[in-house]
Subunit: 580 residues, 2 copies
Amino acid sequence: MSHVEFRTSPANYRHWRLTIEGPVATIAMDVDEQGGLVPGYELKLNSYDLGVDIELYDAVQRLRFEHPEVKTVVLTSGKEKIFCAGANIRMLAASAHSWKVNFCKFTNETRNGIEDATENSGQTYLAALNGTASGGGYELALACDKILLVDDRSSVVSLPELPLLGVLPGTGGLTRVVDKRHVRRDLADYFSTKSEGIGGKKAVTWKLVDEVVPRVRWQEVIAERSVASASSASRLPGGPAIELTALSKTRTDTSVSYTYVSASLDHGRAVAEITVSGPGMSRAGAHDIPEISAYERGTSAADLPSSMDDVYAAGAGFWSLAVARELDDLILDLRTNETEIGTWVLKTAGDAARVLAYDELLLAHCDSDWLAREIVLYWKRTLKRLDVTSRSLIALIEPGSCFAGSLLELALAADRSYMLFGVFEEVDPTVPPNTGAPAAVTVGPANLGPLPMGNGLTRLQTRFLGDAEGMTAVEKAAGEPLEAEEAEKLGLVTFAPDDIDWDEEVRIAVEERASFSPDALTGLEANYRFAGPETIETKIFGRLTAWQNWIFYRPNASGPDGALRAYGTGRRADFDRKRV
Amino acid sequence: MSHVEFRTSPANYRHWRLTIEGPVATIAMDVDEQGGLVPGYELKLNSYDLGVDIELYDAVQRLRFEHPEVKTVVLTSGKEKIFCAGANIRMLAASAHSWKVNFCKFTNETRNGIEDATENSGQTYLAALNGTASGGGYELALACDKILLVDDRSSVVSLPELPLLGVLPGTGGLTRVVDKRHVRRDLADYFSTKSEGIGGKKAVTWKLVDEVVPRVRWQEVIAERSVASASSASRLPGGPAIELTALSKTRTDTSVSYTYVSASLDHGRAVAEITVSGPGMSRAGAHDIPEISAYERGTSAADLPSSMDDVYAAGAGFWSLAVARELDDLILDLRTNETEIGTWVLKTAGDAARVLAYDELLLAHCDSDWLAREIVLYWKRTLKRLDVTSRSLIALIEPGSCFAGSLLELALAADRSYMLFGVFEEVDPTVPPNTGAPAAVTVGPANLGPLPMGNGLTRLQTRFLGDAEGMTAVEKAAGEPLEAEEAEKLGLVTFAPDDIDWDEEVRIAVEERASFSPDALTGLEANYRFAGPETIETKIFGRLTAWQNWIFYRPNASGPDGALRAYGTGRRADFDRKRV
């Protein structure tokens, strides 16, 4: 298969219909059976594959930016009698393990994004199950704030993965059933072993759905609930919609580049070097790229955006939003298409003061302006995507970088960071863009609250878990550019080698990483990145996903006689009965 | 291999030396290289296998009951220059997946037990690392309250699993490093990739150990720290030590029986039926078994123990303690020896009022008497062992059962419970021990706090997560025998079929369970049993263990060219480099 591309737009949707009536949007799933991303399966009964979910993700994102007037999103089906049959089973059975796991990760992130919109954006999702929702179909409904099910004696909700396929519901179902909807654990156990599902009043009594509605009253009740939900939602005011214009992206076998973000891929060393440029500092330092908005072209402080009007005027070209989109797309691209590139080296280039100024403008308005909030929330989600990425992340902090505020989060998300002590001796400080100044990092307001991880803590709080003194010292240093010695002393960077040791230390770190077991690294990182409390979200990516990965990989599921492979063939799965 | 037996005693230890001086006990690890539980490996460098850990578990348990005077336990090595090299690698490489996973589970439980002794029993563990502690050796130290390391320029602590073996430290290491000891996550990352480990002052600065001590001052400092720890520990007062006399156990291929606990094993149906008898009601209803203490023989309320003196007099024969020990041994036996028996049916037989009376006596004294507290803590640990057991648990609540207080926890720990509505029609109520009374369950004080799960909540709180009303209703009903209709209404049992439906419903539940993928059931149960908050303990059994299981099973670790198999052969592991 060629590269999977995550960029799309409503005009290109094959599987979803997005309609908007005032404050209510409806996303109707109407999967094109012949529209599978990969040959070899038909997407019957509104079952989905990665391609279907890419469109859903796009729709959820666009609703936030392109439809600020929307306060309620009704998620329903465009087909009769079936809401969604979940992830396509033939697709799963035919997929490589790495594909299955990456697919589940992305679908989980989209569902978390739906919850984020409901909780933080004033766009509340209602699941309108006009037919049966099974497996991933019910899990999609679980991500919504409320679930309404048609009461027609045949439509049910179900999680048939265990009895039919010998795997778990892989998109947060188990966690949300007990931790979000508070279905009693023994009833949840019964429900998850009953492939025929549960509908009608019992589904309400057991808290599997919020309401069942006779078919004759269906349209009317959905309309009522949508309007009621919209009238109580608290979408922030602000300026007009922002169009998420097509990302400018150039993709070759060895590089991916956008306006501000670029990655060079070294397959031999299994490393991607990712560089994020600060405002006014697009890739290669060029200031004449047409995609860069007026506010980005200047290099002096006088050109900084000074009000939300400037942000609206820049639209999708506004640096903070543009970088979030580019980084988001890059993460998805590399995760899916470059599975053998196991280490991502993270760099930045630009002016830290400008980064902090952009942060400051957004944070000053993120409680009063919908767009400011949306951009901050998008950064939050993108950084979370980085946190759950199964790649080693190494930040390199060098002279000319701008690890400050929102961009410092990249270094804090990394498994390790190296910061140059002093300057590179061979670089001539009189030749621009070199300034002769050593690298510095700056803690800003963006690091102290608005960009929490999935565990509910900021990356700094997670880093200084149980070390209140260390955390306080860092907070006190906020706003000051910290050179290597001080940054290391404060615990903001892992190592601070000087020019003599730099190349060797960095080379060893990167080469060593490539020599280790990729699986063990994934496990190590998944544990160390999530110190501290667990939430529904971290449980989904931790406890649930890890079990699911194990189950997916076992012959009882994926072996020639496993349940996933036997499904639909008429053969019975042949299990190794040993309990592990 | 024949059955693995978990019962042992200090006289039979091959690998540990237990010495006691006043309030300080020393457990010295001195592994017999030739003493492996299974042929095929030598236990060099104080490496361990299940047999070594069974002895450690026994020692930890006995210290609590047989040495109430001990307030500090020094865990050290009886060998020069090496504390412990961790789990034996050749043993791991040669073991079946199910053996590795079960072995890790048991070792984890023992380390959690060490932390429980430190936190709740006033027996504080100090790790005295008189030589290098690597892998599982360092993880054992991590379970102690303080870690002292000899400073001799060669002794280090290390977690070399990832770089050397391509797996994770499997005994809580990653979780405890960041969540308990608060090692900064990036330093933890570096530490866990550095097979040569870290010693000296850096080990202290990074919080990997609490103190490093020059070898010349080693004995002196350990003695000082032990005495200081003992003088500040708060072991409860009470009566004299209790001897944990040998358990009376009869084991055949189809049954395991003790005084109060018995199990019949049906390999064809893959079911074990476990019956726990209440006080005064040993197995088969016989009252003349010599192991039953005087207090247990009576059947009338007048014979109930009335003070802690009675508990001390009964000693290990005291019903509550005897049942905890028997159940503990049975769980370990079935987990290890009967991996194909995937469902455990849990039953009780006896007088609920007597169970509640025994509970009451212990709970009245568990804040003032060390033995009362120890017995309650033992129940807590045993029930937690049930919670993390990878078997389906189905409780059957029938007439003549005594699911009350501490025994009701068995039904609350189960994945599902079935309670008979009414009575069995074919049973003649005039023939003893039948009484003609329908089954009842009784919520007691034991269900409302003293026996929390690993997530920190009671099983009732976990069951009624997010349902404060349901929880309050159950609390209000405490003390009253609740028949099936009421128990079902209160949400205490899953289903309450009557005599007409009982056999069929129970049969289907059990047979269905045996037809499902054992792996998927393990994952389902591991998720549904731990709704609500996560703690260090649940993270170890959830996030960490699940990842480790996956990694263990992947060819990169356990395949013919995997790191675990290649270790020590001079061959390099050949990894599939795809990141998953």
